[in-house]
Symmetry: C2
Subunit: 547 residues, 2 copies
């Protein structure tokens, strides 16, 4: 492992200094200047890969900025670091301190289409073989469900699956499942229970016939409190209904965890510590429920799309590597133009929960303040990511994006065709044309703005955005889109010299929550209990909240 | 109307200057100082109203800051302006320019519990009477559905309702409906179709039996493109199924609009131009679907909660007026501590879409850059609002909130009891206790942080938050919560001297979208059509997007 490559602080590169000069010295490229947004510029600032076109003429960049961003990628060895990650180096670590110190091999979960070639360092070989083997076990299991070899006690097939998991064990698979409703197989339905709030579980349980429902419990450690609580709550309902939990429950967990237990589960699939939760949708964490809901072949298409996009991330020319290009433009917006948030706005109702997945992917990965040597960084890192589908968002929060003084860079996502192909024409245009017309219009409106004698009708413009567009949201496209964002986030982390693969920031809350749980537990057995002595602040908070 | 009160720029008040000094001169109150967060402080910084407790000890404020915030409210006549709004003055206007120039009377939609007393200026009287009359018509209609007086062609009752509307005609009602699933009546289900993306409609139509489905189309003007497109798409399906549209479709629209037509609709309810879309959940925009789904009495309870919270907004002491207090703390965070976003994090799965509603409510209202005299403001206005329910969010984006260098103020929302009362105990505590333990823990963790020898385990702390907690998410509580945020947003707008009730920022996108729709229409009839001559930029964008 070439450790030098994981020690480069971006602000020490020549490119960083040049970008600083460019952004401070003169005004960055102004999209409202007459003819700034020309047809030539629009045609030139376009990159294409894996069926996606990426249009970025409406960012506040010039060819000069792009050239220096390329230099930044080169000086920080962004692609080399990506290759290190993909080939199994321990990229999840903080040098000189206790850290997870792990490989980062979510890319192996979709590197399943060929025997390993000699191009790859063999440190990923084990992960690839395990992915292939889990995938074979999944196929076998799904075949047994289809053929009726596995049935419920009444000899019926299963119609529903509930996935119980939180964070990465829920957001990615749920976003993909909702994103591909047009590809559901066999009338199967998948439901997700994540929140420790029992209302979440009760609500889902109202909607299914337990006798024909499988439950997939996902926890790498087998100890996630929310997930175990919900598993137990659901298992109780099965028992009350006279059903045998072991014939309905599946686990996706680490090999050897408390949940890797054939006495308790119909089947166990494995997840590995070299795949972080937020990067796990293409592993068995997504595989079991997506395979059940969309069919095995569609899950494999998701993997194929993700794999193709991973291969695109190996290209060194930023105009050919669309994840790296969007990562670099994001860095220009965050570190040089000082934009604090990023709105991701899919013009596709199917992607209704995709941004919730991206929130975790991006903010948990890059919401960091120390670099990989443990020093506090002197530059901003990951943006706040948020968004909702268009055109709905237009009728909600676009007012602020267009007319407030706060600038919000936007990543639009669109598809030329709808998923269901409901070609409904009204007033001479189809729904899909109206949808796309709005997408294109927003990008131009944000860029150019509009003057008016009425100050309330003035649009200042010069607000950056890009458009990522593909033909149709298919399983392949969905997989590629997942990978595109995973790779974007990883590239930004490599360039910022931060560890995008741990999440120490979630620990303190867990610790303090356990203190409060102890108070609740003690209170329930002793009405005179007081926590004021051992935990005066927490106890005062509890009492103030009427608890 | 005392117009002077709508001309006060906040930065010209004495309070503003004092707050500026306090925030710049010395470091604002630091929650990480030993004993800063004391039990005494926690007990003192609590306000209660309408069944809610508001805990704000974990904000970076002192009694001195609070006193000056009170002064700011007084100098800007925040409560007087609220009274002006409630009593029917034209608060939706920009002085000296063409503007909507309307009353703002969403509060009238829940001022239905008594005959108007003399306390109120009679400018709201008409709106109150109309609200009462629409409510009576709603009751009559729902009674006719219940009694079977209105049935489908087969003589069956209706089981499902689809609400077709976008923006305020969808987000608020949907958030409330999903928030109160434990209160559904008669097995009725409500669905929402908003997006012009036909996948949205097709997906919903797969899930209902059209013969037993009512469709409520909501558009004030009767001309909203997305809504009309979806209405037509759905109507086509009814016709294809041999059903009579007129026996299934209801409209909620402006009196005299193209949709106010007894020849086309089973029933029409009215909405009025003095109620903006994002403030309309307590009008017939929410009434029809919430009345159908939750029952008339529960809808009235929503109104009762909202009304009670409106009355709380009349109090002049900021420690008694919780919407005003949270508005002022928001101004401290936005204008003096320079925090650009606001995370609203409900520890309640039922509120899963509530933040999407608040995004519109807040960002469309206060995402403005000119004041009510048409001058560009020199201070920041509405924050970017975002969030997802906890504990799910903890496993997603909390990493960034705890450990990045970007500070995000948080408003936590919680309830002492779950809605379904699923008192599930596991490891000595219930699900609800675990949920609340996490809520309390996050607030303290964000405030106090934690030191550690391992820099990756350091939590800088001093991150502001508050907790709003009530007993249970009931229809009454839900109504109060709606009103609380509506009033918070209105107070901030009054203090910022901006018009929180228009949305000119959505117009340019509509205009440009129509240009693109024209291109699509022309293209579909003439394969050789080119828009390059009349619209070179737009046409280049279309071609670059492969369209």
């Amino acid at each position: 492992m070439n450790e030098e490559l994981t020690r480069i602080n971006p602000q020490e590169t020549r490119a960083w200094a040049k970008l600083k000069n460019l952004s401070e010295g003169e005004k960055p490229f102004d999209l409202t200047t007459p003819d700034a947004l020309s047809p030539e510029r629009i045609r030139a600032m376009k990159s294409s890969a894996v069926g996606f076109d990426f249009l970025y003429a409406t960012h506040q960049i010039t060819d000069e900025v792009l050239a220096i961003l390329q230099q930044l990628a080169n000086e920080t060895h962004a692609v080399d670091q990506y290759v290190m990650m993909m080939s199994g180096e321990k990229m999840n670590r903080i040098e000189g301190y206790e850290s997870e110190n792990r490989q980062v091999l979510h890319t192996a979960s979709r590197n399943v289409f060929e025997y390993l070639s000699c191009d790859y360092d063999d440190k990923q070989a084990d992960a690839v073989q395990k992915a292939q083997s889990q995938l074979e076990r999944l196929k076998e299991f799904l075949d047994e469900l289809d053929s009726g070899k596995i049935k419920n006690a009444q000899g019926e097939t299963f119609t529903d699956m509930i996935q119980v998991g939180i964070g990465g064990s829920s957001l990615g698979p749920k976003a993909v499942y909702l994103g591909l409703q047009g590809y559901r197989q066999g009338g199967h339905r998948v439901h997700f229970i994540s929140n420790v709030d029992s209302d979440d579980a009760v609500q889902v349980l109202r909607e299914v016939n337990l006798a024909r429902t499988l439950v997939t419990v996902v926890s790498k450690s087998g100890t996630t409190l929310e997930t175990l609580t919900n598993e137990r709550l659901i298992a109780d309902r099965f028992v009350q209904a006279g059903l045998d939990v072991k014939k309905h429950f599946i686990s996706v967990t680490g090999e050897g965890s408390p949940m890797d237990d054939p006495k308790k589960y119909l089947r166990s699939f494995y997840m590995y510590d070299y795949i972080g939760g937020r990067y796990s949708a293409t592993s068995m964490v997504g595989g079991v429920s997506l395979g059940f809901g969309l069919g095995y072949d569609n899950f494999v298409e998701i993997l194929r799309g993700a794999r193709e996009m991973d291969l695109n991330a190996l290209k060194r020319d930023i105009r050919e590597n669309i994840a790296l290009l969007t990562a670099l433009i994001g860095i220009w917006n965050r570190n040089f133009l000082d934009y604090e948030t990023l709105a991701i706005l899919p013009y596709s109702q199917a992607l209704v929960r995709f941004v919730a997945h991206l929130q975790q992917l991006d903010m948990e990965s890059n919401g960091k303040r120390i670099n990989r040597q443990g020093d506090v960084v002197e530059y901003d890192t990951g943006p706040i990511v948020w968004g909702e589908p268009g055109t709905d968002g237009q009728h909600a929060f676009y007012q602020l994006i267009h007319q407030s003084n706060t600038i919000i860079p936007v990543e639009f996502i669109g598809f030329r065709q709808s998923q269901y192909g409901g070609h409904f024409e009204f007033k001479g245009s189809t729904s899909q044309e109206k949808l796309l017309a709005n997408l294109l219009a927003q990008s131009i409106a944000l860029a150019t703005g509009k003057n008016d004698c009425n100050p309330n009708k003035v649009f200042p413009g010069n607000r950056p955005s890009s458009i990522l567009i593909a033909e149709k949201l298919t399983p392949f496209t969905m997989g590629a889109l997942l990978s595109y964002y995973e790779n974007k986030v990883a590239f930004q982390g490599f360039i910022w010299n931060i560890n995008s693969f741990d999440q120490e920031g979630v620990q303190l809350g867990k610790l303090l929550a356990n203190q409060f749980i102890d108070h609740f537990r003690a209170k329930s057995v002793d009405a005179n209990y007081s926590g004021a002595g051992t935990d005066p602040v927490g106890w005062a908070m509890m009492k103030s909240a009427g608890l």
